[in-house]
């Protein structure tokens, strides 16, 4: 219960603080709130609390929800540090903070719902502020375009999701996941409407997590949005979407998943191929990272595909390591492009190792982690997925995963090479700042390497 209260009140507190002219404390309030969110996740661990149980069982904070909420709050915590230097103007800053906080609230709902109504509301609470955030650089044409594309296509996808929910309701007569599950198990086979509904829900989720062929918006939106917002979308929004998806497909829709695993596998394969292959030709580093993000979505979809047999902790591990790595990359990109006068091309990274060695180091680690080079945490994450997919017997998919990660390595290396290439003209400025943040992120990545995997064992899931 604490979680939903904290997350929903956080945005309101921010707005209140803004009204009370307490803008200086806003940042502290946000951090405090997120820390409280993370803390309450730990405190409630294992309680399986249902908030307002007597008023309909809409949410359940089981370990799954708490774990995802924890990851979301930690990543958000770090993300807010990233915003500190980017949201320059004080007036807009609180607005954006509030929007991000609302979105986080939606994320919490999305990972903890136990009713399709909440799923839909969660998706929208998560998305609507992000539409605004994507367009938040009002003067920038690309930001406008990104915002509009995201909003519009998101709305269409919501319609599909809704239609799916409606059909499932039609088949089962309830929005409550437990009741639906009971009905389905009672009948023994899936009603036709249920399957159609599941497919439409899948389409809606596929859009949110940006897997092919529903990924088209992602590169454009990621590229056009302000870098900070891109980082938000690539990490928190994605984590929440995957949480919601995994929750649905590991429980209620698992019969559908079992029957149509091939669909998931095809989508995974297509995503990996398309995203990685296109990424090789990108020169804009933000767009490149966007495609990289899409390809990671493919991997995580592979995890969702195995939802019935695979423990969610591996997905969480993946989401977490991927989020931290992306956050590192985007933070660096943000700094670099600021110092390069908005240049986001891969060439902007040239000579970064001289201009800001710590940043170069952190980005290198994060890119290698995303590429899945052992023993970095990204490798572990991918390994968990691959080994599960292999256990599921989809050998061809494993081979695609492996071949495309070589392709992925290619474009990550392009960035790395740029950083380690000396500059021809000495005119470029040093990139300063973000040192502490980089240290922190790098430390987390490395710690995830040594203890993260062990934590999967130690924690009682």
């Amino acid at each position: 219960m604490k979680e939903i209260l904290i997350s929903s009140l956080l945005g309101i507190v921010i707005l209140t603080a803004d009204i009370l002219k307490l803008r200086k404390v806003v940042f502290a309030v946000v951090l405090l709130g997120l820390a409280a969110l993370a803390g309450s996740c730990i405190m409630d661990w294992g309680h399986n609390e249902i908030p307002f149980a007597e008023k309909g069982k809409m949410l359940i904070f089981d370990n799954f929800a708490l774990a995802f909420t924890f990851v979301i709050s930690v990543v958000s915590f770090l993300w807010f540090f990233m915003t500190k230097e980017s949201f320059s103007s004080n007036t807009t800053r609180t607005d954006l903070y509030a929007l991000a906080a609302f979105s986080i609230c939606g994320a919490v709902v999305m990972v903890s719902y136990s009713n399709l109504v909440m799923l839909f509301l969660g998706v929208e609470i998560l998305s609507i502020p992000v539409y605004v955030l994507a367009a938040s650089d009002k003067k920038s044409f690309v930001s406008n375009e990104a915002g509009f594309k995201y909003f519009f296509l998101g709305a269409v996808a919501s319609a599909f999701l809704l239609f799916g929910i409606a059909l499932i309701y039609g088949a089962c007569g309830s929005f409550d996941l437990n009741i639906i599950t009971e009905k389905i198990t009672a009948v023994g086979s899936m009603p036709g409407l249920f399957i159609v509904g599941s497919m439409l829900i899948l389409a809606g989720f596929a859009f949110k997590i940006s897997v092919a062929p529903f990924h088209m918006w992602a590169p454009d939106v990621y590229q056009g949005s302000p870098t900070v917002i891109t980082a938000f979308m690539a990490t928190i929004v994605k984590a929440a979407a995957f949480g919601g998806m995994f929750r649905l497909f590991s429980t209620t829709l698992s019969p559908m998943l079992a029957q149509y695993a091939l669909v998931f596998a095809l989508m995974t394969g297509l995503t990996l191929i398309v995203a990685n292959v296109i990424a090789t030709r990108q020169t804009n580093s933000k767009r490149l990272l966007a495609y990289s993000s899409v390809s990671h979505a493919g991997f995580m979809l592979g995890a969702v595909m195995m939802a019935s047999s695979m423990h969610y902790k591996y997905l969480i591990y993946y989401v977490f390591t991927y989020s931290i790595a992306s956050l590192t990359a985007f933070t660096a990109l943000n700094h670099v492009s600021v110092f390069q006068g908005g240049d986001e091309s891969t060439d902007a990274f040239k000579g970064l190792v001289k201009r800001n060695p710590v940043m170069a180091g952190a980005v290198t680690v994060s890119l290698l982690s995303m590429a899945g080079i052992p023993p970095l945490s990204g490798f572990m994450a991918k390994y968990f997925v691959i080994s599960n997919v292999l256990n599921g017997g989809h050998i061809w998919l494993v081979i695609i995963m492996i071949l495309t990660s070589v392709v992925a390595m290619y474009y990550y290396l392009k960035l790395i090479i740029a950083m380690f290439t000396p500059l021809e003209n000495a005119g470029r400025i040093a990139v300063s700042g973000a040192q502490k943040m980089m240290y922190v992120l790098m430390t987390i990545l490395l710690v995830a390497l040594f203890f993260g995997a062990s934590a999967l064992e130690v924690v009682k899931w």
Partner: protein
């Protein structure tokens, strides 16, 4: 029997006005067509014993949302005939895609028509305001409260996007 005819009448009205919305060149006409569609959908709600919903539907959609649209169209002065640039291929592919979508959806749902769980005798009172209110404030209290967060978010967002930068 009357309801039967009403169904078909409302359905055709909805479909035709929807098509009218799409194919009209004038945005204002589109808005008006859509309002007609909404009214016919509201009619369906009446037929389905969802009286309160029908009323809310007209108030919210026809009364608020569409007015907002109209307001924007007027403000942006879009009520002129505007030639949209699009290739023949784009038109054909759009029509074909949407057509196939409809066929597939109808096909999939017809194939899957049987609703296996037999429910109790239908409750005519379902659509009454009281029942809806009970549901909304008991079982759906939490989503009801959370939708305030949604509104707040949308509000802050709209304000943020619309306000002029101070500096």
């Amino acid at each position: 029997m009357l309801t039967n005819y009403a169904f078909w009448f409302l359905s055709f009205l909805a479909v035709f006005s929807a098509l009218g919305m799409i194919f009209s060149r004038n945005p204002v006409f589109s808005v008006l067509s859509l309002i007609v569609t909404f009214f016919s959908i509201a009619g369906h709600y009446f037929l389905l014993n969802a009286q309160f919903l029908a009323a809310v539907h007209i108030i919210v959609y026809a009364g608020a949302i569409m007015v907002l649209f109209l307001y924007v169209i007027m403000m942006l002065n879009l009520n002129t005939l505007e030639e949209e640039k699009k290739s023949l291929f784009a038109k054909i592919s759009a029509v074909a895609t949407a057509g196939i979508l409809m066929l597939v959806m109808v096909g999939a749902m017809v194939k899957a028509d049987e609703i296996t769980v037999v429910q109790q005798a239908s409750n005519i009172d379902v659509g009454l305001t009281k029942n809806l209110g009970m549901a909304l404030y008991n079982d759906f209290l939490l989503p009801f409260e959370l939708s305030s967060v949604l509104f707040l978010g949308a509000m802050v967002g709209s304000v943020y996007l619309s306000k002029k930068e101070l500096a």
